[in-house]
């Protein structure tokens, strides 16, 4: 296994993603957890770039870091509890930890045993962006999920306004 610049880039972004994830679930201060979440999302955007999906990486930054993280941060600021410091985890955290470790072991075993050492089947075509755009607009492609997703977003918009109103 040679150490190419791609491997180093993958390593850096994987450390961002996993380190951020650890920070989210272990941090006592909720705002620090939100910052770790942003670090993790940024790491995943980097991993998308190493997977030659630049469109997805930029949409990840735009949607997750530029919108959802801001929503989460505002909610943390609005629902702040001023009475003392409470525990960050509940009583059943050992069971949760063992369950998560077991799930991780099962996932790794199944995936690695089936896909160990697989390399890429080919190259990504150069006009991938045009293909994505055409697929969103063609009835044989993904037109129906596109319209349903826009209906879903409309419903979420109306629902969030109604729920969070005074």
């Amino acid at each position: 296994m040679e150490i190419t610049p791609l491997t180093i880039t993958f390593g850096i972004f994987a450390i961002f993603a996993l380190g951020g994830g650890l920070g989210v679930v272990l941090s006592r201060n909720l705002l620090h957890a939100a910052l770790y979440l942003i670090l993790s999302l940024f790491g995943i955007a980097g991993l998308f770039i190493t997977l030659e999906a630049p469109f997805l990486a930029i949409v990840q930054v735009l949607v997750y870091i530029g919108a959802i993280s801001i929503l989460i941060t505002i909610t943390i600021m609005v629902t702040r509890r001023v009475m003392g410091v409470t525990d960050s985890v509940n009583n059943q955290w050992p069971v949760a930890a063992i369950g998560a470790l077991f799930t991780f072991g099962a996932i790794v075993f199944v995936l690695v045993s089936n896909f160990h050492g697989r390399v890429a089947a080919g190259d990504v075509p150069a006009d991938m962006i045009e293909r994505i755009g055409l697929a969103f607009a063609s009835p044989q492609g993904y037109l129906l999920p596109f319209e349903v997703a826009s209906l879903l977003l409309l419903a979420a918009l109306i629902g969030a306004i109604v729920v969070a109103r005074e």
């Binding site: 679930v25 939100a34 993790s40 997977l51 030659e52 999906a53 997750y64 909610t75 059943q92």
Partner: protein, 102 residues
């Protein structure tokens, strides 16, 4: 070229970290952040499989884009619900929101 199973291990680890966060954290916003971690790990998995098994098609990226839209909608509604609960009960600790418990 990076072997496929490295991406799958990273995605699996993120999924399990998110799972631990959902099960063990007390604050509702922290649980929602862990749900976002899980959704991101799913996206990473989808795109890794797309790149390594069928890079000429658009299916992998389309699936991931729809997951983005669904995650955004779910985060918006979830956070609206949390703010509404905070207004009524003055708490966001999920253990204290137990009026319906028998």
């Amino acid at each position: 070229m990076i072997p496929l199973h490295w991406y799958l291990i990273v995605a699996g680890a993120l999924f399990c970290l998110g799972l631990y966060g959902i099960l063990a954290r007390r604050n509702a916003v922290a649980i929602l952040m862990s749900i976002e971690l899980v959704l991101n790990s799913v996206n990473l998995n989808l795109v890794a499989f797309w790149r390594y098994l069928a890079p000429e098609t658009v299916n992998g990226q389309m699936f991931a884009i729809i997951v983005f839209a669904v995650a955004a909608a779910e985060a918006a509604v979830g956070l609206g619900l949390i703010i509404s609960i905070y207004r009524n009960r003055q708490t966001v600790i999920v253990e204290d929101i137990n009026l319906l418990k028998w």
